[in-house]
Amino acid sequence: MPHLSVNPSSKPNCSTVWLISVLLGLLAVHTNANDVLTVPQQVSLSTNMDSQQLSISWVAGAATTFDLMILRTELNESVFYETVSVMVSQLSGRHEWNWTSVEPLQCTSLSIKVRSREGQSTSEWSNTEILQGSDLPSEEEWQMFPLDRVVPVGANTTFCCIVKEGEQFGTINYGNTVMNTTRLSRRSYATTVVNQGLSRTSGTNVICYNSFKELKIGAVLFVGYPPLLSDFVCETHDLTSAVCLWNERNTNLNTKTRGTRHTLNNRTFTLSWSRNPKKECRVDHWEGNWTLVAVNPLGQYSLTDSAELSHRVTPVAPENLTSVAHAMNATVLWQWKYDGYSSLALVCQVELTSQGYKTNHTFSGVDLRAVVLPDLYPYEDYSVQVRCGAQQNFWKWGSWSETMSFKSSSIVPEAPDMWVWMNKDYTGQIFWKPLTRRQSRGLMTGYEVTLWSPGESLQHTDILPPDTFAVLVNLTLMATASSDNMVMATVTAKNTEGVSLPASVLIHLRLTDPDPRAVSQAVYTDSGFSLFWQSEVNTTCAYVVEWHNASCKWNCPVDWIKVAPGNTNVSIESANFQPGVRYNFSLYSSSSEAPELLQRWQGYMQELVPSSPVLSLLTTQEDSDILLTWGHIPLVSRRGFLLGYNIYISSGSQLTLLANLSDPGSRSYTVKGLSEGSYKFTVKAYTSAGEDTGATASIMLEPFTDWLILEILASLGVTALFLVIVTFLCYKKRKWVKKAFYPDIPEPKLPGDWSRSQAPLDVKPPHHSLVHMVERPEWDSSKEALVVIPEEDEDEDGQGIGDELVDTDEQTSLRYYNQVVDERPIRPRYPDSSDSSASSLDSARTDVTYTGIHTSGSSFVFQLDPQGSSEGHQPQADPSFCAGGGGGYRPQMQSRVPSDDMGPASPNPFPEPQAASGYKPQSSWQMDSPVDDGEGRSRASSLGSPTSIASTLFLLPDGEDHTEEKRQPSSSAATWLTNLLSSTKP
C-alpha cells in the first residue's frame, strides 16, 4: 500500500495544489492496481493419496496473496476457503500450495479455484479445477477409503464409503461400533475415528453396510507405535564374529508388510518374528562400530555402538563336562568350542549343588579346561555347571554349561553320637543318634554295641541292624562280677567301607540318688530352652545336656546334645517339644570318667492351664468354720508350674473369689464367718497360663449347738450367782431391807361391838386401814360392803410408826395396785365413787376389786397421821369424807350395818376368816397424801374423774400372819421378797 504523507508545515497556498496532486496520484495508483492483479492461470492439481495431500499450482505473475477455495463438487459445499501467501517458485515460475484433506481424496470430487488478492482487491477467480473422486457414476461399485492405513496410537482417521449405484447406504462400523457418518456426496459417506487405541494383530476392520445391513465393503486399519530400540551392544563369542543385541518395543505392527525393517551398518537383515523384546543379529566380522536402524510405517529409530573385540568377549558355554570324583574332592573337566580360547585368559565359575544347596567356586587361568573341587562330602551326590568370562577386560559371564552330575566316593562312617540312660537299678538304655547321610559316608550296614568291664575284662557285644538306634541293657550280672562298679558302653557304626571309630560312655554301677541337685526352672524362648551354668575352674571337659519328659520315670526316651568345652550356656530346641509338657534337663560333665551330674532344670516349652483340677476336694465343718482340703494335681495334668490356688464360693452360677493362695504347696483353707446354710466351694489351681476348670465341693453348715448350750448354762450360772449374792446381801442386810421395803404395818383391829351396832356406821377413817376383800360369789352388789379396820396394831406396836415415818413421802401420793388380786381388764369408772365402787362390785366374778385407796371422793383414803400414829391414837374417821361419800364405797366392816343406800346387809358378810379379819395392804401399799381437808376435797374431786383403775394394793390376809410377822421379822421380809418376785409377773 502506498503511504500518504502530509506535511503540516506546508504553506496554505501550495497545500491545495499539493492535495489535489496527491488525490490524483492515488486515483492513478488505484486504476493502475486493477490493471496489475492478474487472474491465476494454468491451475493444476497433483495428489498424494496416502497422505491425502493436494498440491495446487498456478501462474499468477508477481502476485503473492491469493484466495483459495475448495468445494465438494457435487454438493457445492465449501471445504476450504482462505487467503494465503504464496511466493512464486524461482525454478518453475509457478505458485504452489499444499493442502491436506481430512477425508481421503478419493471420497468425492473437489472443485478448486484461485484468485489473486492485494488488499481488498481481488482478481477474478481462476478456472475451476476438479479433482475427481471415486464416487463418479463410472465407478459404480462399493468402495471404501482409505485401505490398509497404518496410524500411530491416538491418531484420528476419517473413512468414507462410496455406495454402489442403485443401492442405499446403511452404516459404517469401526470394529463392532456403529459410527456417526457425514454425507459427502450423493454416494459418499464419511466417518471419523478419534484417539484410536491399539488395533488387533490382524488390524481393525472398518465395514460399510447397506440399508439391508448386508456387509458390502470394508477396510483394515492398523494402529501401532513407531520403533523404539534400547541396550544395543555387540559382543563376540568366537573371538572373530560379532553378535549385536538390543531390546525392541512391540510396535503392534507385526505383519510382513507393515512390520519393522532393520539395517545394521546399512545392511538389511530379517528378524524372525518373536514376542521376546530381546533381538540379536550376527555379523561375521568384528567391525568395531555399528549402527542399527529400525523403520516401520510410523517412523524409524537408530542406535550405535563401538568397542574393541577384547573388551566384548563373552565366552560360550563349556562343553562336554566330565568328572573324576574322590571321597573328599573331584576334578571337573570340560572343552571349548573354539580353538581361540586356548590363548584366552578366563575366569570360570563352578556352581556345585548338593542336597539343594548351591556353592560357587571360582577359578581362573589361561586355557582353563579343568578345576579341582575340594571339601566334598563322601558318598554325596553333586551336580555341577560351569560358566566363564574373560579374565582381562571382563565383559560379562558366558552362558552356563549343561549340568553334569557325579557322586563322591564312600569311606568309613563317623563315630555315632551315643548316650546312656540308667534306671534306678542296673537296667537302662543305650542310645545313639542316626547317622546322617553325610555322617554315614557310605551305605550303612549296622551298629555294634559293646559292654565291657575294664577291671574284669568282661565283654558283651551286640550287632544291630542299621535302622536300630537304641538298645536295652541289664548290667546286673556285670555289676555283681565287677569290682570297680564301672562298665564301658561302646557303639561303633559300620558301612560298606568299614567300621567307624568307637563312641564310649563310662557307666557307674553305684545306685545313687539320681537327683541330688536342686532343680532350676528353664525358660523357653524363640531359640529354645536357654540353659546357663557356672564353669568350673580349670575344667576343660565337655558337657552333655540330656532331657526327657519329666513324667517319665522308667526307660525314658531321652534326647541329648553335646556341648563343647568352655561353653557355659546352650539353647535346646527340638521338634519334639510339646506345649504343656514338663521336661527335665540334666547337665553332665563329659570326660573320660563317668558322666557327672552337674545341674538340673525343669521347664515347659509353653505353660498351659492344668488339664484337671485338684484331687479329693473335701469340706469339713470345724465349729462354725469350714475347712477345705484337697490333694495335689498329677504332674502330667499340671501342664505348667503351679503358682497357687484360687478359692471361690458359688452363689448361683457366679463364683466369688474368697482367697488367693499363692503357695502352690497349700492343701487346705479355712472359710470363716459363714452363717448356717448350704455352701459350694470351688478350688482352682493356676499356672502362668491361667486357672484350671476347678474342683467343687458342697457343705451344709449346721448350727454350733455346743456353744449355745454353754452360753445358756453360763447365763443361768451368772443369774444363779447373782441371786445367791442378792439373797446373801439381803440376808445380811435384812434389817435394812425390812425397814426400807417392808416396814411393820400395824395390824388393824376390830372393835368388839361392831356386831351390835345397828346405827348407821359412823365412819372415822383411820389413818391406816386394812381392807380385806372377800370373794363371795353369791353376794350381790347390794350387799357388798367394805370394812374399815382400825389400825389398832399400830398402837400396840410402835415399830410400825417408825416404819411409816420412812415412807412419809410416799403417803402423800395415791397409788393403785391391782396386779395381785385382779387381773381382769380394767373397766371404765364413773366419777361417782359409789357408782365406781358399785360398778366394781357389780362384777359377777370379782367380789373385790379392792380399791384400797380410791381417788374418788367417795373412796376411803387412809391418811397417815404420823403424829397420831406415833402417839397410838385411834385413827379418826373424817366426817367430811363420809358426807361426801354416802352410798358409795364402804368398808367391808359396815356390811353388818347396812345403810339405807346399800340395802339390807348380808347377815353373814364375812363368812370366811380372811374376810373377818379384813384386809391388810402390803408394805407397798400407798396412802393418800396427808393433806388438809380442803386439799383433800379438792383432790378427791379432781380424782373423781375417769381414771384407769388398776388395783394397786396387795390385800393380804391378816391375823396369824401378822402376829407371826411381829415375831419373825425376817420371815416377813422373805415373804415380802416372795411376793415381790411374784408381783413381777405381768
Binding site: L147, N205, L215, G218, A219, V220, G259, W273
Partner: protein, 201 residues
Amino acid sequence: MADLEQREQDEQTEQSAALDSTLPGPTQTGRAVSIARLLHHECGLLLQLYKEKESFLSSYSPDGGRMVSPSPVPQEEASGEQRVERLHAALRQCLGLLHNVLLKEEEEWGEQEEDYETLKKNVRHRLEHLLLSTRGLLEGPDTTLEVTPDHQGTEEPDGAGGLFGLKVWTYRVLLELHHWADHAAETLHVFHTERGGAADL
C-alpha cells in the same frame, strides 16, 4: 497335534501301500471316505476358528458362485470313476486355493496364532492325502492323475480390496474347502458302496 501328525504319517504309509495294489477295493475306498470325512471335519474347525478371528464374518454370506469349478460332467450320466475324477480335479483346485491362502497370509501377516497356523497346515496335508487317495482309486495303466495344486481357473483375491478383501477371499476359500470336503465324503462314500463297501462306514 502330535497325535494328528502321527496319524497322518500312518495314513501316508497306508496310502502308499494302497497305491501298490492294482484295483481299488473296499478298503481303499473306505479309507478315502474316512480321509474325506476327516478333512471335512477339520475344514469345519478351520472355518470356525477363522470366524472367531474375524468376527464380522459371522454375519457375512458371500454372494457369487463357486470358486472351484471342475469340468462339468453330467452327474446323472457319469460313472463312479468319472465322479471321483471330477472330485479329484476340484480337490486340486481347492489345494491351489489353499496354497494361495497360505502364501498370501504369510506375506501379509507373517506367523499368526499357533492353533490357526497348525490347523491350516493340517488341512493342507489332509487335502494332499485325499488327493493321493482319490488318485489311487482312479489310477490305472492308462490314466495318470496329478496331485499338485491347480491354480488355473481359481479366483485370486481382489487386490483393490486390500487386506479386507484378502480376509473376505480367505473366508470364501475356507468355505469352498468345507464344501468340497463334504462333497468328497459323499462322492467317495457312494463310490465305496458301489465298489462293495459297507454302506454304514
